[in-house]
């Protein structure tokens, strides 16, 4: 099947996403988010997210089918995020996918959320040159992957050893009195600040760390360094320059992410870097990656922000690759796996 019509369901965190694609073409991308319900807790509350998924599932499905102008009976397959993610949240999507698949007599593909973040770029930029290096950065993940074949073979190169990059944005935003999720307000505040105003640390970039952690990340020390700096100002009774702190913090994160991602491309002789995940919506990350990659003749592909954050279209996009490659569907007893390894593209 060259251009399979695939419906994708995503519920790994706080977004209920249902997307529909035909081959590389996006037909619908319906998302219901419970982010506002989590804001006052300063982070995603798994049970709140799971309850919201159950409520949003059927209305979101109706919206996706209506936007795409197709019926469920038209689709060739249903793909669903089987992991990694919040266990209870994943299970709502997986169970829904099976219910829809049983009712409409369709095959179901349980897929990896991170591989789906890579696949979504094909909807914007077409087939992915393989091999490619993928940098996936979100509130729950920070990973570098070597993608030999999106439908079969994804190799982890490195990942964060502590906080995810998006988590660091959330925590620093809270220190600065900015709302949750922290990515967008820090991006905005940073535009008014000087990224060189404060020298924050770049985790795992010292020579001794590079030996064992060349492609790994660490953002916990950075977060603490920002907290110390802010507290010192507060103790001294001086105002905290929010723009400068945001800009210098953001620069430290983007510096390390892009340096390591491009190092991975050069080490593997790869000329395409794909960036995905919610943090890929950050304007400085996009600009810095493109600027630096240009020096090495590496092409950076970043989907538009709406496709970077969690959505069902990314799951459908990966499902379409699997169907097109003739990969066998999952069994009906397919489990949700909150810790699904990166090497598992589908189950």
């Amino acid at each position: 099947m060259v251009e399979p019509l695939v419906l994708g369901i995503e519920t790994s965190c706080d977004e209920t996403g249902i997307g529909i694609v035909r081959g590389y073409t996006l037909l619908a991308d319906a998302v219901a988010s419970s982010v506002d319900e989590h804001a006052r807790f300063g982070g995603v509350v798994p049970e709140v997210a799971s309850r919201a998924h159950l409520e949003a599932m059927v209305p979101t499905m109706h919206r996706a089918l209506s936007d795409a102008g197709v019926a469920l009976s038209d689709v060739d397959a249903i793909a669903v995020t089987a992991g990694p993610g919040l266990a209870g949240a994943l299970l709502v999507g997986v169970a829904a996918a099976k219910g829809y698949a049983l009712a409409a007599d369709k095959p179901v593909y349980g897929v990896n959320h991170l591989a789906a973040h890579v696949a979504v770029d094909t909807l914007e930029h077409g087939p992915l040159p393989e091999p490619a290096v993928a940098l996936l950065v979100s509130g729950g993940h920070s990973s570098l992957l070597l993608v030999d074949d999106l439908s079969r073979d994804v190799v982890p190169l490195g990942s964060t050893i502590d906080d995810a990059a998006g988590e660091a944005f959330d925590k620093v935003a809270r220190l600065l009195g900015l709302p949750f999720p922290g990515g967008p307000p820090i991006d905005r505040a940073a535009r008014e600040g000087d990224p060189d105003a404060i020298a924050f640390p770049r985790g795992l970039t010292a020579a001794k760390d590079l030996a064992a952690h060349r492609f790994d990340f660490s953002f916990s020390g950075l977060k603490t360094a920002v907290a110390r700096w802010v507290e010192a100002r507060q103790r001294a009774g001086e105002p905290v320059p929010v723009g400068d702190v945001a800009a210098a913090f953001q620069e430290a994160v983007c510096d390390v992410l892009t340096a390591k991602a491009l190092d991975a491309c050069r080490a593997r002789g790869v000329d395409t870097l794909v960036i995905g995940g919610g943090v890929a919506a950050n304007s400085r990350l996009r600009a810095l990656a493109t600027e630096r990659a240009g020096r090495y003749g590496i092409t950076v592909r970043v989907p538009r922000p709406k496709l970077c954050t969690d959505n069902g279209a990314m799951v459908a996009a990966l499902g379409a690759r699997l169907v097109a490659a003739g990969v066998a569907p999952s069994r009906l007893d397919l489990p949700a796996d909150s810790a699904m390894p990166l090497t598992t593209v589908n189950v």
């Binding site: 807790f41 169970a95 049983l102």
Partner: protein
Amino acid sequence: MLVLVLDTATPAITAAVASVTDTVEVLAERVTVDARAHGELLAPSIDAVLHEAGATPPDLAAVVAGLGPGPFTGLRVGLVTAAALADTLDIPAYGVGTLDALGWAATGRVAATGRVLVATDARRREIYWAVYEDGKRLAGPAVDRPAELTLDVEAAVGDGALRYADVLGVPVRDMPRYPPAAGLAALAAPRVREKAPSEQLVPLYLRRPDAVEPGAPKAVTR
């Protein structure tokens, strides 16, 4: 009329096909007890009971689902599955209290059973409970520590009653232990016969999500 019956509010994963006419007859039923595999086992069970009943999804006239109360993650598996099936097949979904199905089995079919406490396991050393007499619910559903209940009942039934038999202080009967498909189907049968409007399947959570609003960030320097 054929109806699909589901309940995932207890460690039992229940799927059945029942025929609802003037009477209610369960044609095929699968009950698998595994508190941690609702997500894996429900869909294959549905497939199996349909096959055993010689039916396909388009033959179904309604989906009946147990609304709990029950451990949230498993409960949602049943409800979202039921909602997806009903939505796609364009047939109504009807909710039935899971404890009500147990109460129906314990007191609704035989006269003068007296008042019976129905209890299922709520984890955290608590039970979901309700009291029935002659098939009618007199109290509950609620969630409490079993030792803290003072109830005027003749007996107790259900997985939760068996688990806490030593602290309940009333005779505990072995059966029914899990919500029977026959009870779920019987309690929805009037709506099935009347072709009542489809219902939104809202879980009986009885507990709020565990979440606390954070205080000010903790200082990292002293």
